[in-house]
Symmetry: D2
Subunit: 312 residues, 4 copies
């Protein structure tokens, strides 16, 4: 198969791109994400038709939420409010190409495995530290989707009994402690408790703890601001401890850490590695998985979805 | 391949048995576990030679600890004090048959998958609630061993930050909350705090909380003793919550719960199922894995090890 | 001193009452709580003037928030948005009587100590399980206000590290686990996870978990509904464990449990007592404090404030 | 009253000293702690008679454990194995002086309040970070003993649900996270997980994590060793968070931090203060208590016990 189209459905925009066998994006098109579930389906079809222009042979779509084991139906997409949405059928009817639907974090994991940081590894666990926390699992060179299609929901593993409320209805979910949103909360809580120590960080926003956002924390941390650095460390503690648990469960040869938070590179990767070693059980008696930074940035999902359409 | 030998190395005894292609045990031999690492190797070889008597074609050994990805070397066995023990080579030299070494919980999981509760499932997660907590993972009909051979160490996933100390050196490990040892601790703590309510349970032992053992808790719970029943419920809460996390990660079609604690059947299985449903994230929008009782009892490890020797 | 006036400032209404030396309320007046901080001051003054009618000699005001050690200034009242509000001076100028300001939970504790469940005790810790969790401490027959006036803020003691977010900006505060709001959350979470088991409870509201309120949980629990009863038990676990900690710290002869949740009587008191005994450290070697139900209901704060105005 | 005798009963030695009204120790005598309960009583009497030599008028004894509200009977002393030991009567019979018995941490708190860091404060909470964690409470210039004599057992307040096992039979007790023993555990755990980073610290002992003791951690931390410094920070996190809770409960004007761990001064005090500010609820709207280092070192208990004998 030659070219395929990958689609990445985000909360604010939908990106479609034509991708070749080497994972290179030849052409992309981006449209805003419409507000209603049906309009999103239309927008996906439009974006695919516009970008594809006859050259592509299949479509892979990455969507946040549960996708069934046939890679056809979105069982539940919290942001777009799809419930048992037969996305594969509806898009195939409109664009006349075979379609596979995939969880977006799975697609991103596959992208990194195939064309990014995963080179040389066959057993890889990827986490995506975006606003929330997503994940994907490659075992023996294959995407592990689970019996019902919903494996790899790392963000909702409980890491603190009776812990923070999560939008999923549960408590203590890992993504409440290890995500971009968690990072901002760490910074805001520190700024509220000790405003004098956080004066520089507060000054980047409107002066209130609530005015601090993720870019402020990153900017301040790069400059060595102690409150921002401490917030990244807190994040890293939870990420690293969770990776240690995933090592006990999956035993991959590498972890790939992606998502916006990981753009900070060693500022966040090094403390994650340190925490990983701290919490890895039996660390003296077992080979250690590598903890790698993702390489494809925000395009991992689109590239991965396109490749999954090719490789089934 | 016809008959194979399975070996199960326990803390107090070593069992070897000849097993046929259908998982039936034709003959077994049991010897006490010797106190020194080298003597254990001798005892295994003796048991295999005695029971095998020329009829078997391969040997599978299940050992507690880390086994390397070549299924040849025990990297670390806490109880027997093996460190980088080349068990495959040493046993092959003595018994003249091909040997594979496997983690004991993996072997038990494989046994249940092949000949026990796993019938009709290709994606199964097994947990063994013995003194500690072990586990094994079957994905697509294959045992998931991990890149380095040490996957499925469920017992040492951290479920309580800053939680109970574990023999592994970490804190808050699942097996401190979900195991036979944990069950006894729950009963003893309740008996110490409210001895009047636990009078019947205390009377089964020597009258002190420390005198309560697992058999007392089981016996009392069967009779409806509220302290014993409450101890099983506490255990079940932790088991079920952990299975919900494993569903988020692995998404199997079935969980199999084995080990001595599971011998109590629905007394422990029903509250585990209830807790599983309580904590399953997104439970309304996804198929639910079944939670099944193991069927092979204490022979799962031996049978599984024998079958792994056959099927590579 | 003869009659005094007690004022209880709630989120929705302000109650003022004339109280005699025996804690009997002779006359009351209730007005809605106005929306702005200054208007609340006016409303208090109006209510006092109307009800007092020349007969009373002093005024005691109970307000939610931090009150300074001079019992004059409200440092911080989250609901009414007072910041360093000189309430004593402003009310004295308007009503021409001496005024003392007190934390509302302290006032309620004092009321119960003097005229309610505290009879015969000189060292009492009171908790009020309302929407949130308040408390008051009597040591040697005197209200313990702390050096700065802000002692007894039980609701914001951390009981779960990294736990639930609290409106105070911290995490894991006791009131997130032990309060009317917590009780409703327990019921809603259970109803969302296992709707079939919660069918009866759901039917009391609009059929959704969010439609369940505190009255539904109480009503269902009285009828033995297992989900509602389990929610009360979860609440009681946290209340009892916290009381055990307070026993380690304060060692009172009695705890008094008040607030709307405690109206359920033994339905909630018995499991609280059980949990208290379960968690009381050294319980075999020390006298146990009693755990008593409050007796004054919603009037404890008004009566207590009036009595504090009398007894300074 | 002129001179009194203070006695401090430790796990390894018993110290008795003659103390004047200003808290100065005129003379001391130290004997090893005998192994049996009755022998300890004899040793105390001998030490008192030897050191007192007719000059003193009363005796105050500080003992680890629960002391009843009459300050006469040790209800429970875990180390010395006293159970309902009528210590006051037995010592009075032997030495012919009036005796008061006090919890040792209470005695130390009183010593610091009267002659140490407590100058100028009337509401003080003291914690003693020794092997374990003890505490004492001064309210309005009086020792708060509680209704039954067992107040101020800070070490056994639960700070982590399902947390570390404690010798008291409970779980998650503060002293498991905030004590000299906890500090050593932090260092050992870090050394076991990342031995390369802890090489310098390990070299102070026998090279193994278990070989690290408290003096090693202190010595290394003073030299800036990162693993040791990190261990002190972990300790300080838990101490400071606990003090913030005690501020919510008691609202003192000062905390005094004593015990061997506090000998490190600002190395440990500064991070404790930082953590205290971080976790103090409502910190922007309330006066902050000071966090002070104890001044009397190991003599606080003896001096305090002597003074309590004088002042009843």
């Amino acid at each position: 198969m030659g070219l395929t189209i990958g689609v990445d459905i985000g909360g604010t925009k939908i990106a479609a791109g034509v991708v070749d066998e080497k994972g290179s994006i030849l052409e992309t098109r981006t449209v805003p994400t419409p507000p209603t579930p049906d309009a999103v389906v239309d927008a996906i079809a439009d974006a695919v038709r516009t970008v594809g222009s006859g050259s592509a042979e299949a479509v892979g779509i990455g969507a946040a939420g549960y996708v069934d084991d046939k890679r056809a139906t979105v069982l539940f997409a919290p942001n777009i409010r799809w419930r048992r949405e037969a996305l594969k059928d509806r898009i195939e009817q409109r664009v006349g190409l075979p379609v596979v639907v995939e969880n977006d974090a799975n697609a991103a994991a596959w992208g990194e495995y195939r064309f990014g940081a995963g080179a040389g590894h066959e057993d890889v666990v990827c986490i995506t530290l975006g606003t929330g926390l997503g994940g994907g699992i490659i075992i023996g060179g294959r995407l592990h989707r689970g019996r019902f299609g919903v494996a790899g929901e790392f963000g909702h593993v409980r890491v603190v009994p009776d812990g923070l409320l999560c939008g999923c209805g549960s408590q203590g979910c890992w993504e409440q402690y290890a995500s971009g949103r968690a990072l901002v909360r760490y910074a805001r809580q520190r700024a509220a408790a000790t405003p004098e120590a956080a004066a520089a960080l507060l000054a980047l926003g409107d002066g209130t703890p609530e005015g601090i956002d993720g870019r402020h924390v990153s900017l301040a941390a790069r400059g060595g601001d102690p409150v921002a650095v401490d917030s990244f460390r807190e994040l890293a503690r939870w990420v690293g401890a969770g990776l240690a648990d995933l090592a006990s469960l999956f035993d991959p040869s590498a972890f790939i850490v992606g998502g916006g938070v990981s753009d900070e590179g060693d500022l966040v990767l090094e403390p994650i590695r340190k925490s990983f070693r701290r919490w890895l059980v039996g660390g003296r008696y077992r080979p250690h998985a590598e903890v790698l930074a993702a390489r494809l940035g925000g395009q991992a999902g689109l590239v991965g979805a396109a490749d999954l359409a090719r490789h089934g």
